[in-house]
Symmetry: C2
Subunit: 195 residues, 2 copies
């Protein structure tokens, strides 16, 4: 991982447009995934557990994507060749996404960057950040499907630093809630209505 | 639970239109949630564990929905009053959905009924089956958010019949995959494109 902000990482950019999703909308969504202050505390603990394991987590996820041509396609050029510079740039931001999920307050700034991430999965902004010629959108079906692998593969990493089984479970449930919550937010640009 | 098919349950209706989603699409989605034959076997076991607990599971879920006005709204009339007959009809079908998730083969017939369920969350078919005047669609955000409560609340029920911790975990992971897979399928009618 780089220690400076990777290319295209605009979380702290003062010019980041606000999200169309309100803090009240977010509160209702949090209630729908049973997300509480205890989950925020568990995620803070998870951030400390994961901080020096980010590349291991990402390598697991990239290995999963790399093993499935229908997933690699979202990083491929029109000839079907994976674009290494694109994969690398997303890798850097994906690592910070893990830590942001654990450590950032879920406030208006967080919502604004969720909106940015959401748009980067769709024709609104995909490929633009990294100036690549790749698939125009990540299909919504796989965005949702990823809740499973992104949740399930995380548990061994959370268990690696000697925490009690109860704390590992607490961190893992909080992670599951946070991932589900974010996928719900990222689905917004796909829905013509009824989001 | 009724022993005859509840009103609006058309899984075995020969007139059920086929799904626009192909078996090949389904195979890719299954791979994306790591769903294997072992998960199908674990779900069959879960079906036996859950068969006499369906009302307990449904009461848990209805209790959760009932505690949140923004969720009850999807079952309410234009005055905001929950429609009891609608809640009851969905309850009956929801119970069969649990067993279908565990026991039915994930084949073309299953895909066809998933498509029917998907449409019943949106203006295409919501309210029509039960001839009610309620919210025109379940918001996509909550359809996705529900992956968490529908998964997490299931574990104690799976653990209630004396199975080993390993078997309970196997059933629970298979359930998590199956729920995620179905929500991915149900998202289809919401997406104008890029599903």
């Amino acid at each position: 991982m780089t220690t400076t902000a990777p290319s295209g990482y605009t979380y702290d950019d003062p010019a980041l447009p606000p999200s169309p999703v309100s803090v009240e909308d977010l509160e209702r969504l949090k209630a729908s995934v049973l997300f509480t202050d205890d989950d925020a505390a568990a995620l803070a603990m998870a951030g400390d557990v994961l901080a020096d394991q980010i590349t291991d987590v990402l390598d697991t996820w990239y290995g999963f994507v790399g093993a499935h041509p229908h997933l690699v396609a979202y990083f491929a050029d029109p000839d079907g060749e994976p674009i290494k510079a694109y994969l690398d740039a997303v890798y850097q931001r994906f690592g910070l996404w893990i830590l942001d999920t654990c450590r950032r307050p879920y406030d208006e700034r967080w919502l604004a960057y969720q909106h940015e991430i959401a748009q980067r999965h769709t024709p609104d902004k995909k490929n633009r950040t990294d100036r690549v010629d790749s698939a125009p959108a990540v299909s919504l079906r796989y965005l949702i499907a990823f809740v499973y692998p992104i949740t399930a593969t995380m548990r061994p990493f959370l268990a690696r630093k000697g925490h009690s089984e109860a704390d590992v479970e607490r961190m893992h449930q909080a992670w599951f809630k946070a991932v589900t919550l974010q996928v719900a937010l990222w689905a917004r640009p796909y829905a013509a209505r009824d989001w």
